[in-house]
Symmetry: C2
Subunit: 272 residues, 2 copies
């Protein structure tokens, strides 16, 4: 993977939900394995206690040196000095799934939000998230929309926490058939690159590139190339000339260049 000069600078591991041991283990490894100090934030979850303990057990089982939960149930906690000290000691921070608007509502603009951006920017923390914890990574996040069809009202979006700019992330992508809503979103906001991540699949960012990990694929929808986009308030959208890439593990994507990398051709083309 071409990850720029410092491959550990600003690393984000963004998972599409239902992550298995390969992906969670990769997070533990990136955080330092036996030397890892992992902080689990289950703010998105309706039942944070059980979510926290499940991930604590999981990460410990995968060899993490230290795993603790940071319960941020309200904005006061996200602005508390104790929270800052826990995060400053961390090498990896993990956002669980649940409701993405709980994360942005509780953390948005707090000392935790600011500190996490600094720690990730300095390469001192690997930031990971799954499902709702993945959605909040982008500048614009998908909040909802399960209607079929490519239309303005097929998707609802709102501001995310902006760790990964110029990208709009969707999760549980193939499993929930969400290409229509991602197409709807990028037709409305062609500045954003649409990135749909399947379950047990992740993107790992490094520099201006991401790499695909896991058992599924990442679908990138690029409306930047579109020759015509029309988004009526009601009824179907027109989107002509967009690009689409389906990228399984091992593929890379250059973000600002909007270019996929699929690696060298295989020795012999597999029969379809």
């Amino acid at each position: 993977m071409d990850a720029g000069a410092d491959p550990h600078h600003g690393r984000l591991l963004i998972m599409g939900g239902a992550a298995g041991s390969e992906l969670l283990g990769r997070f533990v490894e990136l955080a330092g394995s036996g030397a890892a100090r992992i902080v689990v934030i289950a703010t998105a979850s309706e039942s944070p206690e059980s979510t926290e303990s499940a991930y604590r057990e999981r990460f410990a089982g995968l060899g993490a040196g230290d795993v603790r939960a940071l319960r941020l149930a309200h904005r006061a906690a996200a602005n508390a000095p104790e929270t800052e000290s826990v995060l400053r000691a961390a090498t990896g921070v993990f956002f669980t799934g649940g409701d993405q608007e709980r994360i942005t509502g509780v953390l948005g603009g707090t000392a935790t939000d600011t500190l996490l951006h600094a720690l990730v920017g300095e390469g001192r923390v690997v930031l990971a998230g799954t499902s709702a914890g993945a959605a909040v990574m982008s500048a614009t996040m998908i909040i909802g929309g399960e209607r079929p069809g490519v239309a303005a009202d097929s998707v609802r979006t709102g501001p995310g926490l902006e760790f990964l700019p110029c990208v709009l992330i969707d999760q549980h992508f193939a499993e929930r058939g969400r290409l229509n809503r991602l197409l709807s979103a990028v037709a409305r906001y062609p500045h954003e690159l649409g990135v749909g991540i399947d379950e047990d699949t992740a993107i790992l960012t490094g520099g201006d590139t991401f790499e695909v990990l896991g058992s599924g694929a990442v679908t990138v929808v690029d409306a930047g190339a579109a020759t015509d986009i029309r988004v009526p308030p009601a009824g179907p959208i027109t989107l002509a000339g967009a690009r689409i890439h389906v990228l399984p593990a091992g593929c890379t994507f250059h973000l600002s260049g909007r270019r996929p990398g699929t690696g060298p051709p295989p020795e012999r083309e597999p029969a379809p």
Copy 2:
């Protein structure tokens, strides 16, 4: 619509299922309205009698001069001289929904198959189909596959009746979230242009172009532009650099040029 020199030559009206009065009425009109002699073929249906009578009533209500059902339950019927005379008198032929493999199994290679190609090619008949009746129009048709994910085993295909060459049609497209299987199909067969038709939506072919009609959209997936395609026997497909177009009513598509036409820009861009 730019439909070539003779816009009535080889017209196909291909509907994505659940067609409303606008689309069915357009078929009646293309077949000659009061002078229309429409033949309904419900071979795909498990209960042809009720399907036939529903469409007979529907087309009569929309002003068709004459509507009759042609019951082709087995290959002998599709090779019978009486069948030929019924079809020779028709101005419009309509294939209902059901199981597309029943149509190809009963009609494939019969005198009816050959005659329909001749009548359509000479512009003497408008050929319409909905759902399974749409699937059989293309050279390669989708038979099944509802698994999520873009993978070789996410779609099963087989030969269609080849009225519209170089195209692979899918139906109930947005409603059943079928973009994954259409992507899987064109990744395997990039020669075919993937055309996904929503319910109550149709393409009307004329010359080398089709026009979109109805309340939904037609999604065209063009893997011809892809820079890399890898289809492993199992696991996710790699498809880099494909093109996608979402085209509602009024848009056109130039088939051999693989180019969408979205018409002149609106007077004023609608707010997204």
